[in-house]
Symmetry: C2
Subunit: 248 residues, 2 copies
DNA sequence: ATTTTCAAAATGTGATCACAAAAATCAATA
DNA sequence: TATTGATTTTTGTGATCACATTTTGAAAAT
């Protein structure tokens, strides 16, 4: 039995998870609906690996934690399960899916395929101005890495990739890319808990140079390397070790 | 302003859409929750192109049509919007996304990439028995085509692809493949409304032969051809013509 | 004939409640 | 001590209601 994120325990402070929900209330733009807000907060927490796989979420618990009611929280949970971030068990409990070495391998392979495709489809549309923006994001990320600020570096890395792919005005792949990021989130959390410092690989300059030359193959190759040598670079044995340590 | 699927109109029988919801009540397995059932029915309707793009759905209208209440219907709609099947407008209206020639092109390209990947990842796992099942499904599809039974042929075609991809026990891509199918659904509806007979391309035998030889590249090639010469085979001019006819 | 104004109807949203199923707690038993 | 069984609590689910916003439809004005 995993732990629960429920009212009592949460209020008693026995769980570390509420901390996530409480600590990062995210600013809520005016006009944003409650279910949207709940969706964003939970999504954020999962994306950065703050919710451990196997931990089951309770609707009432979350509702209480973010001072709302079951209805909008349920909608948020349904969306997240459709996005692959959460899994609904037979007993209707909802939890973050457990990670396995096989699943991890599938996720990395899929991420590479998806993002190479997205990058190729953007090459023909991206402007010099947008490429300059990529340079700026990459620079900011380097600074975050130098300061060992994992969270910021991670966010900037995502922004780099998102900016590239959305250069295609008809792009429809971003939700799927984000779904893979979401599904990799829990592993990130595990890795960060057991590894002193995340080691970042940065093939962004390579991608930028290829973009300037409009070389589709080279762009795809850089993106592939960025993914496979980055988070995908964990060796199988290391992954299994990590997952065992984390009690998966 | 598009038409609405609302209580009054639905009951007045002015809309063709309720027919879809009423005609195919789908059997509801015991224990299936209401929101799950609503999700399945709407999904089915969208997948086969029964709901026209631009038509906006109302929560109460659907709830009334399937004799339930707003709560579970809203959950179903949220899921479908996360799956890319529906779009939430700024005024919070929900509708089937409009199709454009550009979006159609993106969908076909993505479908090809996704399914080639899925097929490749299945080659190493699929058993001879499963390949035999593919043969049976393909045969049934041929019969449906011969009888000009579009709906059945479509369903069997999906089953063929699904059976192939799910041969990989760690497969995680199916939800994304289905998302693309869903997003192509409305175009299918348009095409079927304006074309006398859907013309089916069948590269399945080619795929089966390649699977028997465990030839990954050949499998991917067959899948690519199946998609690009099938639904993807519409010429740009034909697509734009169709969309104009449909008032997109 | 077209546009503007305004009251009525419809709609999305979220809180609350009741019910059934599942989980947890605790006492009794082996 | 470990296990079973019954009671209590927690939880998911869906219907209903109230509120604010949007849309609609008709009347009035241009």
């Amino acid at each position: 039995m995993g732990t629960r994120i429920g009212i009592g325990r949460v209020l008693a402070g026995q769980e570390g998870t509420l901390a996530v929900l409480k600590l990062e209330p995210l600013d809520r733009p005016e006009g944003m609906t409650t279910h949207e807000y709940a969706h964003r907060r939970l999504r954020q927490a999962i994306m950065v690996g703050s919710i451990r796989p196997g931990e089951s979420l309770t609707i009432r618990g979350i509702a209480e934690a973010m001072e709302s009611s079951p209805t909008p929280v349920r909608e948020a949970l349904r969306r997240l399960s459709s996005e692959g971030a959460l899994k609904v068990l037979d007993n209707r409990r909802i939890m973050v899916p457990k990670m396995t070495a096989e699943r991890f391998g599938e996720l990395i392979a899929l991420r590479s395929t998806l993002e190479q495709h997205a990058a190729r489809r953007a090459v023909g549309h991206i402007t010099e101005k947008q490429i300059d923006r990529l340079v700026a994001i990459d620079k900011a990320q380097d600074e975050a890495i130098a300061q060992k600020d994992n969270a910021t570096a991670l966010l900037l890395n995502q922004e780099f990739h998102r900016t590239l792919y959305t250069a295609n005005p008809d792009q429809i792949i971003m939700p799927m890319v984000e779904s893979v990021w979401l599904q990799l989130g829990p592993f990130l959390g595990i890795a960060m808990a057991h590894v002193a410092q995340l080691y970042f690989v940065d093939r962004h300059q390579e991608a930028i140079a290829a973009l300037r030359k409009r070389d589709e193959d080279a762009v795809a190759s850089a993106i592939n390397a960025d993914i496979c040598e980055g988070i995908g670079g964990f060796e199988r044995a290391a992954i299994e070790n990590l997952l065992r340590l984390a009690g998966q």
